[in-house]
């Protein structure tokens, strides 16, 4: 029995994106959680059916601002599977570098938000300052800081020069020291430990039952990482080491992401050093068979799956995206119940929710279907 219902969201200072959580409290302890998503619904899957394959790559990269390259790479990989083509080695290494640099910027952003939720503003400021090194490197390579649009069917769109590569390597050397300093700070700070150790615990059975993905699963002892299982892009050649912790609480998830940052820095440096001269794009004949294909990547938040079905024309017949936060949001009940209201933002943020990825489904164009009047948009009358 609860005596107070707190609405957490959709608009709340703690939430970077809208989600509606109904928290049923008794005193300060949470008894039950009910969640509602759909506030960021943009209509992407239906829009993708109306664009040709080249244009739809740009649309897929805009599903999410933080993990844009992950979506773009996964979609391009699926389409290349449909056409049964390979990409040249140089393009593979460039794609891997951009992918891992994006994981770095996403995890640094997450670390800042995590500190902010705990009231630790200094950690927020420091993480965002270090993130500038990553964004500068990305801008040098692709020309943009966040949404990169580097992929095309058969390879990448821009080449990277020798001078750019040396500048990026210098940035990464500086960044490595800073990330190690941040790791030291997080591991040794007593108040961070007090607020994260033992809270939001997920054990192995929960992960298997709810099919959780990404750092959330790896923090509970399950070594599930698509870079290890599928060995797509260049991870096989570069030798990827998976990061696993065993405790399953908020602190373990923090440690997994910080160690993954160090691993990403190593991978990008190795990838850039192994780039050999060559072409960046294979010639492609856009002859699509009537077929379907599925492909997965490890986005910064977990496993991302794209399913593309083609019907022979130059537009996809169906694109289905299953994003990692969509899978992880089911464990909210387990990690919030039994703890206090003060732990809600911290636990929620430790899942690294990216709700604009979750909500990316369909809306019907107003030209063809019913015109929805303004008063009809107000939910309950």
């Amino acid at each position: 029995m609860h005596d107070l219902m707190i609405p957490f969201g959709p608009a709340h200072p703690a939430l970077p994106e809208p989600v509606y959580l109904k928290l049923f409290l008794e005193g300060e302890e949470i008894q039950d959680v009910d969640f509602s998503v759909g506030y960021n619904h943009k209509g992407i899957e239906k829009s993708l059916e109306e664009m040709d394959y080249i244009k739809s790559i740009f649309m897929a990269g805009r599903v999410c601002g933080i993990c844009s390259s992950a979506h773009s790479t996964c979609y391009t990989q699926t389409v290349e599977k449909l056409l049964n083509i390979e990409i040249p080695n140089r393009a593979r290494l460039i794609r891997t570098s951009i992918f891992e640099l994006e994981r770095l910027h996403s995890h640094l952003l997450w670390l800042g938000m995590f500190g902010h939720e705990m009231g630790f503003d200094t950690l927020f400021m420091l993480s965002f300052r270090e993130r500038e090194y990553v964004l500068d490197s990305l801008e040098l390579i692709t020309g943009k800081r966040v949404v990169h649009d580097i992929n095309t069917i058969g390879g990448v769109r821009r080449d990277v020069s020798q001078e750019t590569m040396s500048k990026v390597l210098k940035n990464l050397d500086i960044l490595k020291d800073k990330v190690e300093h941040l790791q030291n700070l997080v591991e040794k700070d007593p108040i961070i430990k007090k607020r994260t150790v033992g809270i939001g615990k997920l054990d192995k059975k929960d992960v298997e039952r709810l099919c959780l993905v990404g750092p959330v699963a790896r923090a509970s002892g399950i070594p599930y990482d698509i870079r290890k299982t599928d060995r797509y892009l260049a991870y096989d050649d570069l030798g990827f080491k998976i990061v696993v912790e065993n405790d399953g609480d908020n602190f373990a998830r923090t440690l997994v992401r910080i160690k993954e940052m160090l691993e990403s820095i190593r991978l990008v440096k190795l990838a850039i050093k192994s780039i050999k001269p060559g072409i960046i794009k294979n010639k492609v004949v856009m002859n699509f068979p009537v077929d379907e294909a599925i492909s997965r990547v490890e986005a910064p938040r977990g496993e991302l799956i794209y399913y593309v079905k083609s019907n022979g024309s130059n537009k996809p017949a169906r694109v289905k995206i299953r994003t990692p936060t969509y899978a992880n949001i089911l464990c909210l009940n387990k990690i919030l119940v039994g703890h206090t209201l003060a732990d809600v933002p911290v636990s929620l943020e430790s899942l690294d929710p990216c709700l604009c990825c979750t909500d990316r489904l369909t809306v019907v164009r107003n030209g063809k279907e019913e015109i929805i009047k303004l008063e009809d948009l107000h939910g309950h009358h």
């Binding site: 902010h116 009231g119 200094t122 400021m125 003060a342 809600v344």
Partner: protein, 281 residues
Amino acid sequence: MVIIEVFFISIFLSFIYEGIIRKVAARMQNRIGPPIWQPILDFIKLLSKERFEVQNSNFSLVSFLSIISVIGLITIVFMFPFVGILNFNWDFILLIYLLVFSTACFILVGFSFPSPYPLIGSTREIILLLAYDFPLMIIILFFGINYQSIQFIPNNLILSFPLLFVSFLFITQAKVGLPPFNISEADQEIAASFLTECSGFELAMFNLAKSLKIFVMVSLTTIFFFNPPNIPMFFLTSLFVLFIGILLRVILARFRIDQGFKFLWIFLLPLIFIDIIKVII
């Protein structure tokens, strides 16, 4: 000094102290930060904004409380040694009462609105008040028994009671609502706690009351433990104490309410008793 002068000078200084906190904290975090007179600009701007009367709330009570919380805090300024308007034997008791009075005004505001965020903010403030007021009262009563009135406090008591100084620093952080004890104003969890539904004039007055609390507590720390002979030395030592508070604000995260409570009782009370027993023995 005349009452009106003290009134305006203390309001001005409290804004400046808050501006110093924001500026120095920003510099420590490698940012530029707002100018020192930013709180004054905020106050003036808020006075020109619309006041929303929330339905089903006790709005006239909230307006009344916003004014008397400011007046209650300025009354404490009248008790400072070189202001000297309100000093008598056992004025320490009045000091304890006025310090709790300002917090009680905030708590009542939280209960005047039909919204869950102010409600939780006020319940947390009640628990926190219980946590820090007990050590605070012990320290103030100890001084009261020894020195009868604030104007008779000797110089440089920090040399005799260093542990009391350390405890008083943490109690100041809790009373003022700076990290690690900004529990009742945790904007990530409960929006703006008791200020969520206030706007315009009331919000300006409550912000002024919060700044005044910082000014009063920092000045009290200076008076109790240093009591410098002249006013320039007083400001220099106040700035030193303020700097320690800013340092704690920047390097520490926020406690949860139960952790904060445990810290204030289990960690600080033994420190206080060690220093007190030294005198008794």
